[in-house]
Structures are given as structure tokens and as C-alpha cells.
């Protein structure tokens, strides 16, 4: 239960960071979806059931806060999660060669899904040029920061797992 609470708190913290802190700086206007590296991490390195529940929760939170149609982020995150689970059947996720490309590919897939949904549900509107203009900037941000995000998440996860095991061990010893 504790990992779920920790990951949920991280989700809320990241949403607050993106919506109330980073939004004050113009340089971050075209920053990619900040929860995306977490969704990718959950898909690549966490057990299926835990990752799935957290992915849907992340999507639900984003759908509630964002102005798009409800269900958009749940769908996108779910598809990315499944894609990551499928990918690790063929590729070694911890490979140093693969890691730098995970987040940029995730950004590309997320934007592609957005374009598809926009095309399906807004057939009368032309795809705004702005959306095409913002994609390269998001990819650049992802290429520069994505790897560090993944390393930081992985490192935090290992640290937290060790701490949790130790805490659990002491708790059991105390009981006996």
C-alpha cells in the first residue's frame, strides 16, 4: 500500500510543480508532459498490476486538471503503458543505449495520439500550426532531460525499496 501512496503523492507534487511553479517561467511553456517519464518508468520497470493502477490514477488526475476531453490522458497513458510492457519483451529496458531514447519516443507517441484524437473528434477544425510547432521543442526538452528523469526515478525507487525493506524488517522484529 505504501508504494501506491508514495507514487500518488509524487503525481500530485509533479502536477503542482507543472501548473503552479513551472508555468511562471516562459522557458517551460513547451515543456513536455511531466508525468510521462513516470508512466514510462512504470511500464518498463514496475510489476504489471501496480503499474497499471498507478497509470490509470495518473491519467485520471491529469484529466481532472487539464482542459481536454475527459478520458484523453487515461487512454494515452494506458496505451503508453501497454506499449512499454510490449517493448520489454524484445528489448532490454536497462540498456544504456536504449535509455536516452525512451522519453523522446514517449513524447512522440503521446503527441501522435493527441493528433489522432484531435483529428477524430474535431474533424471540422484544421490542426493548429501551433501544435506542430511545439512538438520539436518538446522533443528537444525530452532529449535533454528525459534520461536524467529516468535515472532519478530509478535511483529514488531503489533507495525507497531498500528503506522500505529495512523499515518492514525492523517492524516485524519489533512485533516478534
Amino acid at each position: 500500500m505504501i508504494p501506491y501512496i508514495v507514487y500518488s503523492c509524487i503525481c500530485i507534487l509533479l502536477i503542482i510543480l507543472k501548473t503552479s511553479v513551472l508555468s511562471n517561467f516562459t522557458i517551460f511553456n513547451d515543456f513536455y508532459d511531466i508525468l510521462l517519464p513516470f508512466v514510462l518508468y512504470l511500464g518498463l520497470f514496475r510489476p504489471f498490476s501496480q503499474g497499471l493502477i498507478l497509470t490509470i490514477f495518473y491519467g485520471y488526475c491529469m484529466d481532472s486538471i487539464a482542459g481536454g476531453p475527459f478520458g484523453f490522458y487515461i487512454t494515452v497513458y494506458f496505451l503508453l503503458f501497454i506499449l512499454m510492457k510490449w517493448t520489454i519483451q524484445f528489448l532490454h529496458a536497462r540498456s544504456a543505449l536504449l535509455k536516452p531514447f525512451i522519453v523522446p519516443v514517449g513524447v512522440l507517441v503521446e503527441n501522435s495520439l493527441f493528433f489522432i484524437i484531435l483529428a477524430v473528434f474535431h474533424r471540422n477544425q484544421p490542426a493548429p500550426g501551433f501544435l506542430i510547432g511545439t512538438l520539436p521543442k518538446q522533443l528537444l526538452w525530452a532529449a535533454v532531460t528525459g534520461l536524467f528523469f529516468l535515472i532519478a526515478i530509478d535511483y529514488s525507487q531503489v533507495w525507497f525499496s531498500n528503506w522500505f525493506e529495512e523499515w518492514d524488517f525492523h517492524r516485524r522484529e519489533g512485533k516478534s
Binding site: I65, G67, P69, F70, G71, T75
Partner: protein
């Protein structure tokens, strides 16, 4: 196999949900109100802290150019006072004329000031979260303005917070007219910092720099509120309409405080 079927079923459910919420935005507003109620107070706290730090910077360290600015502002204030005096005269004459023409009495607009506590986490949608909700009389559909002009409208409200769809969002639409030539059309967001003026007939006279105001016909925004100015006109040889770009007066990047109009607006064509 079971997992694959469950996955496909889940995606189908999500697509139905997107379709429903896209066509009827109000229907899913309740589902998402819980995270807003949890996250918005923290956003409020963080924004207040940032504002506090910013205020310290503005009021104590950034005072070098204030004296010069003060002189310039006093000059502008004098001009504004003079203009205001003229406008008072015009208002009085307008009231007299309205009386003569037996027009519906102009309603007093009630507004609630609110602070922006959060912005949309995604670059594709343009919404903000404000720190006033249903407890302050704000309801879904209330127009939101700033002194510069129209900002947007409330799309969902919880007890103490509300989500505002900005006019630059691609899902936003405002019935508008050009102040000079009275040409009508619909202002739609482009998800960037500008809007497009749709359905303006080719025969209509529109020039770059023309002021665009709300027409009041949509029943959401009161008539005469400023929206922006015409920044580009393309009149093609074929087609019924011309392509018009409008730059809003509101700087959405620096939006901090807004006014929510809580009085239900009725235009001259609606029954009281």
C-alpha cells in the same frame, strides 16, 4: 487472451468517455472534481508563496525605474481622468436616449474577483484554475473577464475552486463583432496566443487594427466587452468567408487575477 480483451474493452470505454465529454463537456465535470479539490489548495499555497517572493522582489529590490514610471503614470492618469469625464457625459446621454427608446434597463453586473492558482498541465489545452467556486456564487458558464477584455468562461466548479476555459483554447467560441463595421463572426481559440475570427463574410469591411468586441448574442458574454484587435486579414478569390486573425488584448501568460461575472446575462432578444 483475457488481458488483451480487457485492454481493448478498456480502450473502447475510454474512447466513449472522450466522445461524450467532448460533445457534452458538462456531463463529466463531476467525475474530475475530486482531484481538483485535493490539488487546488496546494496550488493555492504554492502560488501564494511564489507571489510573496515576487512581491518582495518588486517592492524592495526592483525600485530603480519606479520614480520615472511614476511621472509617466501620473501623466497617463491625467489623460485618463479627462477621458473618464468625457465618458461620464456619454454614459449620461446614453441613459437618456435608452429611456427615450424604452430599451430594457441595463442590468448591474455583479462580479467576483478571483486569483489564478494553477494553469493547464498540458501545452495543448488552455485552462486555468481559480480560487473561487460554487460557495462564492460561481457556476458553470459564468463569463470571466479582466479590465483588458474577455478571458474565458467557467467550465467546471467545485465548492471553492473553478476551472476556466480561456478564449485561446481551441474548444472556445465567442460570438463577436467588429466595432467599426459591425461585421459578425465567431472567435475561436488556436491553442496559441491568438484567435481566429470565423464565418466573417467576404463582403464585410475588416481592416488590420479593427477592434473586436463581444456581440452578446451567444448569451454567455455581455455585449460590448473587448476581445482583441484584428491582426491579419486574408480575402481569397473564392469562398464565402474571409480569414481573419485576432490578437487578444489579454496577456494570458501574465494572468494573475480575474473577475467572474456571476450575474446571469440576458441579451435584448431573451425574455427577462
Amino acid at each position: 487472451m483475457v488481458l488483451a480483451i480487457a485492454g481493448v474493452f478498456f480502450i473502447a470505454c475510454c474512447i466513449i468517455l472522450i466522445s461524450v465529454s467532448d460533445r457534452h463537456p458538462g456531463t463529466t465535470a463531476g467525475i474530475g472534481s475530486v482531484p481538483i479539490s485535493v490539488i487546488a489548495p496546494f496550488q493555492d499555497m504554492v502560488t501564494a508563496s511564489i507571489e510573496f517572493i515576487r512581491d518582495i522582489w518588486r517592492h524592495y529590490f526592483y525600485l530603480v525605474s519606479v520614480a520615472k514610471e511614476n511621472v509617466a503614470l501620473k501623466k497617463l492618469l491625467n489623460q485618463a481622468l479627462e477621458k473618464n469625464h468625457q465618458l461620464v457625459e456619454i454614459e449620461l446621454s446614453n441613459q437618456r436616449l435608452r429611456k427615450f427608446l424604452n430599451f430594457q434597463k441595463t442590468r448591474t453586473i455583479q462580479t467576483v474577483p478571483a486569483e489564478v492558482v494553477g494553469r493547464d498541465p498540458s501545452p495543448w489545452f488552455k485552462t486555468v484554475i481559480i480560487d473561487k467556486g460554487e460557495a462564492d456564487g460561481i457556476q458553470k458558464g459564468c463569463p470571466v473577464v479582466v479590465p483588458e477584455g474577455i478571458t474565458g468562461q467557467v467550465i467546471s466548479a467545485s465548492a471553492h475552486y473553478a476551472k476556466v476555459l480561456l478564449i485561446i483554447d481551441q474548444n472556445s467560441a465567442v460570438d463577436a463583432l467588429v466595432q467599426r463595421s459591425r461585421a459578425r463572426g465567431i472567435i475561436r481559440g488556436m491553442a496559441s496566443e491568438s484567435c481566429s475570427f470565423y464565418y466573417v463574410l467576404r463582403k464585410d469591411d475588416i481592416r488590420v487594427g479593427d477592434e473586436v468586441i463581444s456581440s452578446g448574442i451567444d448569451g454567455v458574454y455581455p455585449k460590448g466587452l473587448r476581445i482583441g484587435y484584428v491582426s491579419g486579414v486574408i480575402r481569397r478569390n473564392s469562398g464565402m468567408f474571409q480569414e481573419v486573425d485576432v490578437t487578444p488584448h489579454v496577456d494570458f501568460e501574465k494572468l494573475e487575477e480575474v473577475l467572474v461575472i456571476t450575474t446571469r446575462y440576458q441579451n435584448d432578444f431573451q425574455m427577462p
